[in-house]
């Protein structure tokens, strides 16, 4: 990581600690913000948070490793979580899973080399009557079929290219 990136992260974490306070109960909201912006919670980030909240970094690690929406490993910009619990299983999640693997060229638990997509299993997403269901970041997709997988992935890529073109415009200005 470049020193400037580190500085940026230190600033971010300090500003979140200001928002949520530096009591222990602020720990999870701060970690959720780090996860969202940096797609992972690195050792460096954990140490920063521990220092600000005056707790041992192992305490922070214990929390990060406990919750399935927090991760030490780098995640892609889009985390695809396919529900594997019974109702979605009966509705045909296996075929969807296979197509996701085929289209992305990775297995469940992996991230694409361009760090765009992470593929994960999820336990019951609470969309059981509309299975197979999956989340792409915060967005829910229901009654997913292998045919729909390609469109969903393309939708993500389009979103990212919109961000990229916005950035380009900023540079022009």
């Amino acid at each position: 990581m470049l020193v400037t990136d580190r500085d940026r992260m230190i600033e971010d974490i300090a500003s979140w600690a200001e928002t949520y306070g530096n009591a222990r109960s602020a720990l999870i909201p701060i970690l959720q913000n780090i996860q969202k912006k940096y797609c992972r919670i690195s050792d460096f980030a954990m140490q920063q948070v521990a220092d600000l909240l005056e707790i041992h970094p192992v305490e922070v690690y214990g929390v990060v490793s406990f919750y399935s929406f927090l991760s030490e490993k780098p995640h892609g910009r889009f985390v695809i979580r396919l529900c594997r619990t019974i109702s979605c299983d009966m509705a045909g999640k296996d075929a969807v899973a296979q197509q996701l693997e085929n289209d992305l060229g990775i297995r469940f638990g992996q991230t694409t080399p361009d760090e765009m997509f992470t593929l994960e299993w999820a336990n019951c997403l609470g969309l059981c009557e509309q299975g197979p269901a999956m989340l792409v970041n915060d967005q829910a997709f229901t009654r997913v079929t292998p045919e729909k997988v390609a469109d969903i992935i393309e939708g993500c890529r389009r979103q990212l290219s919109v961000f990229a073109s916005q950035r380009k415009e900023e540079h022009v200005v």
């Binding site: 109960s25 602020a26 720990l27 406990f66 919750y67 619990t85 019974i86 019951c124 059981c128």
Partner: protein, 395 residues
């Protein structure tokens, strides 16, 4: 997409803030008395009487008390709270406000599961509107001295946080590991202060009880399980979705309602519930017979019940918090046993041992997760032994 109700729920006929108005017009003791008369019990699955819980929290001596709405709906097959928060968030918030009044709390927390992040902006908008209408914040409904506001806190993906003490641990910034009980949260909860934790549906019914009266509520259901219940129905049936049906309804009648008459089994209460075979479809869904938080999963004639047990146990191996041995090791052993059955490598003698292990887990686990995780396995072994045994050996 977010909402899917099959028929209008009673909630749609409850006038905005009617329940809150009635409750705030009553003395604390009368609010608790109304709840006691209604007989309402917790809708999350455990079925603890609400009046008892609130009485204990009201009696506890403390300057700081908390009301927590448990929106960490993680039980497989349950999605009613998602629908209620999408369509009737106001009723839930009203219920929290009534609770605050009854126990003397100033702060409420709505603990929403991470999987429902897409609901946050909607709920935030409801809270903001209510603040503007003086239904939250300083002097709620113009009552001097009654200040109450609500904050949304997000879960981070852990089924166990639906257990109330694990939820509180998570709020305090810890791993979601359940605490020993007693002390109970009504006495020693969030930050060690008296806290009531209620399910989303329970809170919506409380508002409805004040709007429509305790007698209306008591007039529905059975003597021990009063009122209507919201069910989440999925699986092999024609009309999956959210249903409002009276407590005490038989499995048979429910199946007719949802178009699942040819089912060979129904899982009632989600992965931690029981698997009911067709021969027992005359049983009643109520606290005194088959209890449920509302999850109904229908299995058609073609379903492989061993695969069902495998799916549930995979879930529990993944979601056990790992704190106590019976749950952490037991679920892994049961899953391994199911895989042995599938491979034709499990002797009858070992299957009996697995069942004993399941019973040990029910007795020795620390919290509800481990105590109930063997239920599905044990009931499938009991009712479908002809189906799960005698699998062909691979070689």
């Amino acid at each position: 997409m977010i909402s899917s109700t099959q028929a209008p729920l009673t909630f749609s006929s409850v006038e905005a803030n009617a329940g809150l108005k009635v409750a705030l017009g009553q003395k604390r003791a009368d609010i608790l008395e109304t709840l006691r008369r209604s007989g309402v019990r917790g809708r999350g699955g455990a079925g603890f009487p609400v009046a008892v819980k609130w009485n204990l929290a009201a009696a506890a001596q403390s300057e700081r008390k908390f009301v927590v709405c448990n929106a960490d709906e993680g039980e497989p097959g349950t999605f009613k709270d998602r629908v209620l928060l999408s369509d009737y968030a106001d009723l839930v918030v009203e219920g929290m406000t009534i609770a605050a009044r009854a126990i003397g709390a100033k702060k409420g927390i709505l603990y929403l599961r991470a999987e429902y992040t897409y609901l946050v902006s909607h709920i935030e908008a409801v809270l903001e509107r209510r603040r503007k209408e003086s239904l939250l914040g300083q002097a709620v409904m113009g009552q001097n001295g009654f200040d109450f506001d609500i904050e949304i806190r997000m879960g981070a993906g852990a089924y166990i946080c639906g257990e109330e003490t694990a939820l509180i641990e998570s709020l305090e910034g810890n791993r979601g590991e359940p605490r020993n009980r007693p002390p109970f949260p009504v006495d020693t909860g969030f930050f060690g202060q008296p806290t009531v934790v209620n399910n989303v549906e329970t809170l919506a019914w409380i508002t409805t009880i004040f709007a429509k009266g305790a007698d209306w509520f008591k007039g529905i259901g059975t003597e021990k399980s009063t009122g209507p219940k919201i069910f989440s129905v999925s699986g092999d049936c024609e009309r999956a979705g959210v249903y409002e049906l009276p407590m005490g309804i038989t499995v048979e009648a429910l199946l007719k309602e949802v178009g699942g008459e040819n089912a060979k089994a129904v899982q009632i209460g989600g992965a931690s519930g029981h698997c009911i075979p067709a021969s027992e479809f005359n049983r009643a869904i109520a606290y005194e017979d088959v209890a449920t938080g509302g999850s109904i999963i229908v299995f058609g004639p073609e379903r492989d019940m061993l695969q069902v047990a495998h799916n549930f146990l995979e879930f529990f191996v993944d979601e056990s918090c790992g704190q106590c041995t019976p749950c952490r090791e037991g679920n892994a052993k049961l899953l391994e046993g199911v895989e042995m059955l599938q491979a034709g490598e499990c002797s009858s003698r070992y299957l009996r041992e697995l069942c004993q292990l399941g019973e040990t887990m029910q007795l020795a686990s620390k919290c509800g997760l481990g105590q109930s995780s063997p239920n599905a396995f044990l009931s499938i072994v009991k009712h479908f032994s002809h189906e799960i045994m005698s699998h062909k050996r691979a070689n």
